[in-house]
Assembly symmetry: C2
Homo-oligomer: 219 residues x 2
């Protein structure tokens, strides 16, 4: 599917179309800030939505998991999937109940997953997944062996049919409500890292690596 | 469906079954800490996964949205849905790449949504939704009028067929990896509120209400 066909009838944002984003670079920014997606697939007419981590390189989104998992067993057969990434940025408190909202950035990708079979590509994809979540960690860890690679399935979903929806900024109230005597504004929300917790069996004196002390998803 | 039938074959956790939780009270705790869910539904064989807020009362989960939205138009016809709530608690950094993981608590609910038609029940459900996200805010805001209530659809999903999956604690490494010379442990993650941002048109001197200054999802 070529870029110029975006959005498709399936990815066109129906409600609040002014919040729609179809620009690939803007979508990549959202995908790169997040690392948790919700993946939807269908079994016997029943949708399932499963949280999982992901990584991105160019127009490919990678997810992985145990070769034995329900999700990966289903998805590798090339069934239609939906991958959704949501970043929550704040509660938007308006004067009226009705105009309350949230600030968020979300991406919806529709497509079919394919199993990454080639051993080299699979290892590269696992590295992309790891570096997406925590840059620097892969080289700092014990590398995967044959058995572990076999127990892991990696799926690739092309980022071809997608849309994003973004809300930013203050509440938008009906004009006659601006005199309503309540507080109005935005309560910012952000996923934040706490202090790293040493494993109980860690060598005493081993220091927390720099990639952990300054961990933040915001660019 | 009675409690004793949990899990069904559809909600039984396949992978890492030791992380499975089928206890209703534990599931309610997770649902009450979160307020963002990812809702899956199927259109012409294609799954869609859409983020939305929710509220809970007893064994009912409520979501709402514009009567014109794709999701609500589809879901009110009693199609099968999946509602997933995920709380991310941390990155789990093991010695080996393979044993890296995340600490999380997630709930998956399968069921059919029904439109909340009765005006009194609808208003009550909207209040539940609002109070779920920000207790105290409803009474502090301009109440919904007829037109606004008409423009909003509320759906109820029964919390009957569900499962949860929970991972807590430190990395679990292969015994021979404990001597590997990297840092290992947990990087805690938590959704945190920043300082409230006054709307530009707010009356000068209006104070931030107490329900905002101490906002936290953790009980």
């Amino acid at each position: 599917m070529s870029e110029t066909q975006m959005p498709t009838t399936r990815t066109r944002v129906v409600r609040e179309a002014d919040r729609a984003v179809y620009d690939r670079d803007a979508v990549y920014c959202i995908l790169d800030e997040g690392f948790l997606c919700h993946t939807g697939f269908v079994v016997d007419g029943q949708p399932f939505v499963i949280p999982t981590s992901y990584g991105r390189k160019d127009a490919s989104l990678y997810i992985h998991g145990s070769a034995a998992s329900r999700m990966l067993r289903q998805m590798k057969d090339g069934v239609p999937v939906c991958i959704t990434v949501t970043l929550l940025d704040g509660l938007v408190l308006a004067r009226s109940v009705f105009n309350h909202s949230m600030n968020y950035r979300s991406v919806v990708i529709l497509g079919k997953a394919t199993l990454v079979d080639d051993p080299e590509e699979k290892l590269a994809a696992l590295r992309i997944l790891s570096e997406h979540i925590l840059p620097g960690r892969w080289d700092d860890s014990r590398q995967p062996n044959e058995r572990e690679l076999k127990a892991t399935s990696v799926l690739r979903v092309p980022i071809e049919e997608f849309s994003a929806k973004v809300r930013v900024g203050p509440p938008i109230d009906d004009e006659e409500d601006y005199s309503f005597p309540n507080w109005a504004g935005v309560l910012p929300l952000e996923m934040k890292a706490g202090a790293p917790i040493n494993d109980a069996r860690l060598d005493p004196g081993r220091e927390v690596p720099p990639y952990l002390t300054s961990y933040s998803r915001r660019p």
